[in-house]
Symmetry: C2
Subunit: 187 residues, 2 copies
DNA sequence: TCTTTCTATGCAACTCGTTGCATAAACAAG
DNA sequence: CTTGTTTATGCAACGAGTTGCATAGAAAGA
């Protein structure tokens, strides 16, 4: 389990409430680590009772009060420990790959729309990443003038960009294949 | 949940026992859908009691008897229904990305070995994929002479190959970045 | 012969993750 | 003034997934 660690990293980058964390997980972090708000609140509770994080009640105007969390020394130590651990192989769940192989026992042509929809989603995400890269990592302070944290955030973002580009190219390959095997025997 | 569907696809491609399925999940299928043998046995039970699959006790010499499962009509219908459903967005869990961003609050150089280890794993997997491709999808019957099922298996395999190549290139980018930010301030 | 390894199946307990629901404060729109 | 939306937090129940353990037949090797 590493949700705790993902939360620690996010809180180190910027302290915030459970609500704010769940928003971040929907946006940037969620692209490589998903979590619902329920999970986040539950884990935050446990982390707080373990002394990994500190809470601060923050009264707000124009909206309900919030609890702002920040990383305490034991949390930082726990993160450091995890960072030095060997690591777990990533577990994958690719529904689409299962569907593609399953299409051999059904109508392959029926998958085309689905694959096209996926392609659009990945295309949008790529555009979103590229916009973020232009916003945060180009201009006057680009290349060399960034600190270590920004460099690392940038390389993770480049990973996301590479992933989306590869996926889009592969989905085009899938579409071409579906058309090819659909064409010879239409009736 | 789609473990049921992954099992259905695997059993349609080739009937087999829970043990054989768990081996397949370790090998080919496991690259895009992981599952332990416990999970597989439990789900097989449920699928059997739901009438999705049939069992056949197969006595063997030189090893314990096994239960060979094959897909029944209701299972095929369930698979078909799932194939025509809109679809779920894939959920990702990229430990390494979390670690990389976390390295900003620790020693980035300490990550280098870890990343190198990952690179080796992905490199091995790529070689394994390429060997499988050479074995199953080249030679006399290559390109045009394959049936739909083989074409679809091939395109999924090409996806795996593309993924590994992209990942290896990205890990090289990560390594270069870690070296770059480690070099300017070593002491 | 005894231990180890491979095939083959499974229970029990636990943790992780999801879904549905509930609450509440503040503002905006009708 | 009621309804809807956004921010903000949380419980309860369930289902998915993991870990540890147990069993058992047969072959291989020490």
């Amino acid at each position: 389990m590493a949700l705790e660690h993902a939360i620690l990293v996010s809180l180190l980058e910027q302290p915030g409430s459970g609500y704010e964390l769940s928003r971040r997980f929907e946006r940037s972090i969620g692209h490589f680590w998903t979590a619902t708000h329920q999970q986040i609140y539950r884990v935050l509770k446990r982390m707080e009772s373990d002394g990994w994080i500190d809470v601060r009640e923050v009264p707000q105007q124009a909206r309900p009060d919030k609890k702002e969390y920040s990383v305490a020394a034991p949390g930082r130590a726990a993160l450091s420990r995890w960072l030095h651990e060997p690591i777990e192989p990533e577990s994958v769940r690719h529904d689409l790959a299962v569907k593609i192989r399953g299409a051999a026992f059904d109508d392959p042509a029926a998958l085309i729309r689905e694959v096209e929809r996926h392609r659009r989603t990945h295309s949008d995400l790529l555009a979103h990443y590229l916009a973020g890269e232009r916003r945060d990592f180009t201009g006057p302070g680009a290349d060399g003038a960034l600190d270590a944290g920004q460099e690392l955030q940038h390389v993770v973002l480049r990973g996301g960009i590479a992933y989306e580009r590869m996926t889009i190219a592969w989905l085009d390959d899938v579409l071409a294949t579906l058309h090819r095997i659909g064409a010879p025997s239409p009736t």
